[in-house]
């Protein structure tokens, strides 16, 4: 194959990737609009369009939304929309971090929680739930702040433990992540035992969900998640080379230690931000990258953005289901992600078993 042919094939793939990402973005947009229509309150779809249209610059002047009851506007703008945004952000963050970690560790079992982010966040959140009753300074945000802090501190600890001189061997990193997680899980167990009537607060935080998400929660994590994911795209090529093995990548001019360090920080940051608003949501960080790989291929230049958007789509849908499946009662969204995602992944795995490769 001549150089021209390689180039032509790259451009062909490149345009296919662009098309894929744009298509996924459109699907995400549609899913968001449709899920705005899903909830306990029966709100006519045209009312939702009027409420949204009123806020679109340019056409806002021609929209007459006087027929829309203020309660409906309140529910759409103050309750459903921030929740859907949070779902999209968290899904995107967990899936993107999953791609980063699986790329760095070259391990299919690596997920966004692998460095102890989940355990660290759980300890932080549980502490805030059990002892933070008097914390009114940050109000209801105490749990979020504590979860974020716990997650970041834990990653820092795991990273320091596993560092050997200037290098961070991935095996050591994985093992110290597991060791620290087990230790922290024990602390969470102690906290649940002494938590008394706050037990269900911890249990439901661990189950994950978007129970009381408000705009302020969304705005607090948007910079971390969006900048973190965008920055990771600059390392997509390096991740491709890392897939060939660390030594090979080094010989091809990749500063592997630097790439690992930066991506570990970015992955942990977006995961910690995500976990701080949603609690622990399983499956997304582990499975969405695999599902995207099966659907689109292993090249990180498309895998990263596609996983990000598919993660967002998946979690927005799961949260919509969690909202309406049981009427006035609500299910933790982590339950839905695992119930829906597990079988779908098995189906894909069996169907594409032959061609599946990391």
């Amino acid at each position: 194959m001549g150089l021209d042919a390689v180039e032509a094939s790259y451009f062909k793939r490149s345009s296919l990737w662009k098309f894929t990402v744009v298509l996924l973005a459109v699907i995400l947009f549609v899913v968001i609009i449709v899920s705005l229509n899903v909830g306990y309150a029966q709100i006519p779809f045209e009312h939702i369009l009027l409420i949204l249209g009123k806020r679109v610059p340019g056409i806002s002047s021609v929209i007459d939304s006087s027929v829309v009851p203020s309660v409906e506007e309140m529910i759409i703008m103050q309750i459903r929309l921030p929740r859907i945004f949070a779902g999209a952000l968290v899904g995107a963050a967990l899936a993107a971090a999953g791609v980063m970690y699986q790329g760095i560790f070259k391990n299919p079992m690596a997920d966004s929680y692998v460095l102890g982010v989940s355990a660290g966040a759980s300890v932080g959140a549980s502490f805030a739930i059990v002892f933070g009753a008097g914390l009114t300074l940050v109000g209801m945000g105490a749990v979020q702040v504590a979860a974020f802090t716990g997650a970041i501190l834990t990653v820092f600890l795991v990273y320091s433990i596993s560092r050997v001189g200037p290098k961070v061997p991935v095996t050591t990193l994985l093992l110290s992540g597991i060791a620290v997680s087990i230790f922290l899980s024990a602390i969470v167990t102690i906290l649940t035992v002494i938590s008394g009537n706050k037990l269900h607060g911890i249990v439901f935080w661990l189950a994950g969900g978007f129970f009381n998400v408000e705009w302020v929660d969304v705005w607090a994590v948007v910079p971390f998640i969006l900048l973190g994911i965008l920055a990771s795209y600059f390392f997509a090529r390096d991740l491709n080379l890392l897939a060939l093995g660390e030594e090979t990548a080094q010989h091809l001019g990749v500063n592997t230690e630097r790439v690992k360090q930066v991506l570990l920080v970015l992955g942990s940051l977006v995961t910690a931000a995500a976990v701080s608003i949603s609690g622990l949501i399983g499956f997304v960080g582990l499975m969405i990258p695999h599902i995207t790989r099966l659907l689109i291929g292993p090249d990180h230049r498309v895998l990263l953005p596609a996983s990000t958007i598919i993660g967002a789509i998946f979690l927005v849908i799961c949260d919509a289901v969690a909202r309406v499946l049981t009427g006035a009662m609500e299910l933790p969204v982590g339950v839905i992600t695992a119930l829906a995602g597990g079988p779908f992944f098995v189906y894909l795995l069996r169907k594409k078993k032959a061609s599946y490769g990391m």
Partner: protein
């Protein structure tokens, strides 16, 4: 002369002796009669008590979980494993027989202070009682509430302890349980008068509410993150109904469940009830202002009209002798114009 003098002395002594003997006889006879009467009274008392005791020995108690309990004497060392049981025992005047309580018991006395001072023994948390402590207390009666301690109760029964399980599902159930504990502890009379006074107070509330046609829609918050409330099968739901309110989740069959702001905003309650925190610092829901500032809540009728109330959750949630307090308290909140 000498012999005559001696005769006088002999006669005088004889007379004195006879008179003293008569006096002594009369006196001691009275004493004996008195003693005989006392003995008779005592015998009667003993017979009456034996009669009572034999009735008691023949008394078979069936607790709320269907277990049959036979006691050979009045319990002298009682353990209460739930706050509601503790409240019933103390309301019946047999609190001096209580040797151990769970850590959540805090009424009618500050038991944690008692425990610190060594005047009471803690048997552990409500759902985590310590069987070793219970054994060391040598109880002759253990009271349990609800189903949380079923497994423990099984163990205790198999160890030969007398366990009385209380699990009332409505107000009548609570009143029956008060009578049951009264029979078990030999305080039936106190139990009957307590039940009468509770009935009288509840009926007084019902009379005031008789003409009420408009019942406020009530949201009772169990927890904020996630939002949890009470459904039809919850105890709180009954109290709200009896006090002239309508639980917004009355058609939800679950006892306690997670819900969301959207559902609460849609159901638009007229009254919001928030539980107090019992000295555990700020309550989980923060302040009224924080509740009002929750996303979307400004459109709720209760928020618009400032009808947010803090209620003592101990009074509301415990199926014990304070149910009349609970109903009076809620009725005053729901229908302030009638009280």
């Amino acid at each position: 002369m000498n012999s005559r003098y001696l005769t006088y002395v002999a006669v005088a002594i004889t007379v004195v002796a006879i008179v003293s003997a008569v006096f002594a006889y009369t006196y001691y006879n009275a004493q004996i009669v008195d003693l005989q009467q006392k003995i008779e009274t005592l015998e009667n008392t003993v017979a009456a008590q034996e009669n009572e005791l034999s009735k008691y020995r023949n008394l078979t108690l069936v607790d709320d979980h269907g277990f049959v309990l036979k006691l050979s004497s009045y319990p002298q060392r009682i353990i209460s494993t739930a706050p509601s049981c503790t409240e019933i025992l103390f309301a019946l005047g047999v609190g001096d027989k209580v040797v151990g309580v769970d850590d959540y018991s805090n009424y009618p006395y500050n038991f944690s202070e008692w425990i610190k001072a060594g005047n009471m023994t803690s048997i552990g948390g409500f759902s985590t009682p310590n069987t070793e402590v219970i054994v060391s207390l040598k109880p002759d009666l253990i009271l349990t509430a609800g189903t949380l301690n079923d497994e423990n109760a099984k163990t205790w029964r198999s160890m030969g302890y007398n366990v009385l399980a209380l699990d009332p599902h409505d107000i009548n159930g609570v009143l029956q349980d008060i009578m049951l504990v009264g029979r078990a502890t030999g305080s039936e009379a106190q139990a009957a008068s307590l039940v009468n006074s509770i009935n009288a107070r509840i009926n007084a509330v019902f009379e005031k509410l008789a003409g009420v046609t408009e019942k406020p829609k009530v949201y009772y918050e169990i927890w904020y993150d996630p939002l949890m409330s009470v459904g039809a099968s919850a105890w709180e739901n009954q109290l709200i109904e009896k006090a002239g309110g309508v639980n917004i989740f009355a058609n939800q069959s679950e006892q306690y469940f997670i819900t969301s702001s959207e559902v609460i905003v849609s159901l638009n309650p007229d009254v919001i009830l928030l539980p107090s925190s019992h000295g555990l610092g700020a309550p989980f829901w923060g302040s009224f202002d924080q509740v009002k500032a929750r996303a979307g809540w400004s459109s709720i009728s209760a928020v618009k009209n400032g009808r947010l109330y803090v209620v003592d959750s101990d009074i509301i949630t415990r199926a014990g002798p304070r149910i009349a307090d609970a109903i009076e308290m809620l009725a005053k909140i729901f229908h302030p114009e009638l009280f």
